[in-house]
């Protein structure tokens, strides 16, 4: 039972790393708290559902479709919302409210459009036989999800560390004003990062029917909260710290489900608090000086 919980935890954690990755990217690049992140995930899920139901598109192929679509949506959305925010006294905290409003708008539109019930995609489109690893069986969809998450994380790594624009993005993440003064088009870089962040959320959404069992318009808020816990554990502004945070979350959750199930949802938050008390900027964060 222990090994099963560990492996399942790693898989599930990898999925949550995917969810958190976009959120962390946005925070790191523009210090914006995207409370609508879970709702974009939900939209991605519904996109996959409709692509599957209306056109028979296998969710695996929905992934690149959804990725491109949401990157394109993110770009103008950035210009619409963020620059104005940055002009205010406390953009970090105000972004909270702005994106909370956005989250409500998205949820409302989704409810009007899709109703309030749960939707799902049958698991056998990703493989009808469970996979066997180390003598344990895991649902095929979990394995595919894990692989897809790993691929996306790898792609983000490549983007950040191997492309010019990724280099510029990292510059903006560490010192926004200085990046501006070296001639980097901060807005363009940020807009791209924003688009990618939404796209990552949407890709996670495509996998959501398999990992969460179902999708429904009201699911966004809970997902956002959990993903915040994950990225803060890993460290805000450090996208690859999210991977670590996700793993910690996943394994902790699965272990608790095995040994003390009714407390399972408690542990990740507890772990988060403990981590923050020991390392206030998360597992991989840099020490910040304050009084």
């Amino acid at each position: 039972m222990l090994e099963y919980a560990l492996i399942a935890g790693l898989l599930f954690g990898l999925y949550f790393s995917l969810i958190g990755l976009g959120l962390n990217l946005v925070f790191g690049v523009m210090r914006v708290v995207n409370l609508a992140h879970g709702d974009f995930l939900m939209l991605g899920g519904f996109a996959a559902y409709w692509l599957f139901t209306l056109r028979g598109v296998n969710p695996i192929f929905s992934i690149p479709i959804v990725f491109s679509a949401f990157t394109l949506i993110g770009w103008p959305l950035y210009y619409l919302l963020v620059p104005r925010l940055q002009a205010s006294k406390d953009p970090e905290m105000l972004s909270l409210i702005l994106f909370f409003g956005l989250s409500q708008v998205i949820e409302a539109c989704a409810t009007i459009g899709f109703g309030t019930s749960e939707y799902s995609i049958p698991g056998d489109v990703l493989g009808s036989e469970p996979w066997h690893i180390l003598n344990q069986t895991f649902p095929a969809s979990w394995m595919v999800s894990g692989i897809a998450s790993a691929v996306c994380i790898a792609l983000v790594y490549l983007y950040l560390y191997r492309t010019r624009i990724g280099y510029a993005t990292r510059a903006v993440m560490s010192q926004r004003d200085e990046a501006l003064s070296t001639g980097i088009n901060v807005h363009a870089v940020s807009a791209l990062a924003f688009g990618i962040s939404l796209a990552l959320a949407a890709v996670a959404g495509v996998l959501a029917p398999f990992m969460f069992g179902s999708i429904l318009p009201a699911m966004g808020v809970a997902v956002t909260i959990t993903s915040f816990a994950v990225i803060v554990m890993g460290s805000l502004g450090q996208p690859l710290g999210t991977v670590l945070g996700g793993m910690v979350y996943g394994v902790a959750l699965m272990l608790m489900q095995t040994y003390a199930s009714s407390w399972a949802n408690l542990l990740p938050y507890l772990v988060l608090i403990l981590i923050l008390l020991v390392r206030p900027t998360g597992l991989l964060g840099k020490r910040v000086r304050h009084a």
Binding site: F27, V33, L81, R84, L85, A87, S88, K89, E92, M93, L94, L96, I97, L98, F100, G101, L102, S103, Q104, V105, I106, E107, A108, C109, T111, I112, V221, I225, F228, A229, V232, L236, S262, W263, N265, L266, Y269, L270, L272, I273, L276, L277, P280, T281, G282, V288, R289, H290, A291
Partner: protein, 306 residues
């Protein structure tokens, strides 16, 4: 303190008097009560965020602690309501003391950690293994203390107390010290402000405020589940109301609640189906066009805001 006296007379007294008198005029008392609750919560946020710069996403944790503190004393020990109120406030205060180390965190880390703390408390309370203590997931049902009119009056008293605290902060050196901490803790400490003591006091004050009104809330509604009093939406509403009106002032949160919560209820009663949509768009428009709240607008027009 002359300013303080003016604030007292022109802000605190009218507001408290209004809410004391309104029940005679408007019969949906529960709505009035909810207004008082949000007024108090928004001022509580004002104390810890407006003055001190820490934004607690999990502010509702203190509210819930107060509610459960009250309820458990009534349920298990059959205490009289006023004594149980003190217990509720104490419960929130103790929670605040336990969570004081979180103040070492900054900005968004603090926000998320406080949210996590609130969730932890909510989960512990609603765990079925603790049913004998907290009623677990089955919710609280108080009988024998149902007294909505008296509870409302107590709520108005708490509102008065809260406003007093904010008036004090607005007009005292301590309040100024807190604002200094908010702007730059390092410089503040170099200027002689005891940063740790200052923010701890602000934190505990805000916890106390939420705990008190949480206890009264439990008294008023007397039947609730854990999700009701640990609802994240309440934190968010209180924060949005405080921010909209303008922080570090007395009138700011009041106007924020009056306007935004008023609109919320107005929409809810008038056009329910597009409720969430309209409210979301409204919030987005407000933050986009009035990012610092309504008050800087007023300041630009030369009105000095209390």
């Amino acid at each position: 303190m002359r300013n303080g006296l003016r604030h007292l007379i022109f802000v605190l007294v009218p507001v408290v008097a209004a809410f004391a008198v309104l029940p005679w005029v408007y019969s949906n008392h529960l709505l009035l009560f909810n207004f008082v609750v949000f007024l108090v919560l928004a001022q509580g946020i004002n104390v810890i965020y407006g003055f001190t710069g820490y934004l607690p996403f999990g502010y509702v944790g203190f509210f819930g602690a107060g509610a459960y503190g009250f309820s458990l004393l009534v349920l298990r020990m059959h205490a009289p309501p006023l004594l149980a109120l003190v217990a509720g406030a104490l419960a929130a205060l103790i929670l605040g003391i336990i969570l004081t180390p979180l103040l070492r965190l900054e900005g968004a880390y603090f926000a998320i950690a406080s949210l996590a703390a609130s969730e932890v408390v909510a989960q512990i309370i609603s765990n079925p293994n603790l049913t004998n203590v907290t009623q677990g997931p089955y919710g609280i049902r108080l009988s024998g203390v149902y007294a909505p009119r008296f509870a409302y009056s107590v709520a108005v008293v708490i509102l008065a107390l809260t406003l007093l605290i904010v008036v004090y902060l607005r007009n005292s050196r301590f309040g100024l010290a807190l604002q200094a901490i908010r702007e730059n803790p390092v410089s503040a400490s170099m200027a002689g402000v005891d940063v740790v003591r200052g923010r701890t006091i602000a934190w505990l004050l805000s916890a106390l405020i939420a705990g008190l009104i949480g206890a009264v809330y439990a008294w008023y509604i007397s039947v609730f589940y854990a999700e009701t009093v640990f609802d994240l939406g309440m934190s968010i509403f209180a924060i949005v109301f405080a921010l909209f009106g303008g922080t570090a002032t007395i009138v700011g949160p009041i106007s924020g609640v009056a306007i935004l919560y008023g609109i919320y209820n107005g929409i809810g009663i008038a056009t329910p189906q597009y409720f969430q949509l309209i409210y979301g768009i409204l919030i987005m428009a407000l933050v986009s066009f009035l990012p610092n709240g309504v008050l800087p607008l007023l300041k630009r027009w030369g009105i000095n805001v209390p």
